[in-house]
């Protein structure tokens, strides 16, 4: 789980935009989580499990590292 000073960031907002402004609710339905969880992930407040991360990448049909980035200290 992410901590304060999070190193994991993501491009979900941009990826949703390029998918015809897919809503958080649509993404949540396709991934199998709640809209609130998508919102928390997008805001870097919650780091999802590896399984959910892969499911998000699969929805956008991109590699995992295109969705999530791990920064340096």
């Amino acid at each position: 789980m992410g901590k304060s000073g999070r190193l994991i960031t993501n491009d979900i907002r941009a990826l949703r935009f390029h998918q015809g402004e897919m809503t958080q609710a649509d993404l949540a339905d396709r991934v199998g989580v709640t809209r609130q969880t998508v919102n928390a992930i997008e805001g870097n407040k919650y780091s999802p499990s590896l399984e959910v991360s892969f499911r998000i990448a699969r929805v956008f049909d991109v590699p995992l590292e295109r969705v999530f980035q791990y920064g340096e200290d």
Partner: protein, 137 residues
């Protein structure tokens, strides 16, 4: 404030616990004696029934208004963190209740210290979850 089903459910549990057990303690504690009196046992059973009815009816109303009742991994994580925090409070309460049992006559003080910490543990559990939902996780 846009609340999820889980947050509405937690607020319902929090408010009903405070109201019902607040009523119990305000009524029972001034009438303290050496031991728990039969009328206090009856009062306790009544407040438990009130709590169950309030929460069942409240959850039915919330579920009708908000059909997104499903949970996911983040909900389970938040629930686990809340339960962990509650366990610390309950463990503290158990030891304080044991100390109370050793230092006081009768069962009134022991019973109510234990019951008080049980209620407090639930409030900490729910409060922790509400905080985590507002923070994100």
């Amino acid at each position: 404030m846009n609340l999820s089903f889980q947050e509405k459910s937690l607020w319902l549990r929090f408010v009903s616990l405070v109201a019902v057990f607040g009523f119990y303690f305000v009524t029972a504690l001034p009438a303290h004696a050496r031991d728990v009196m039969p009328q206090q046992v009856v009062l306790f059973m009544l407040v438990v029934v009130m709590l169950v009815i309030t929460q069942v009816v409240g959850h039915i109303v919330i579920a009708i208004a908000d059909r997104h009742t499903e949970t996911d991994e983040r909900d389970r994580l938040i629930e686990l963190k809340g339960t962990r925090n509650a366990a610390y409070v309950l463990a503290t309460g158990v030891f304080l209740a044991l100390g109370t049992a050793l230092l006081t006559d009768g069962n009134f003080a022991f019973t109510h210290v234990l019951l008080g910490f049980w209620v407090l543990a639930h409030l900490v559990e729910i409060g922790s979850q509400l905080f985590l939902y507002r923070r994100g996780a």
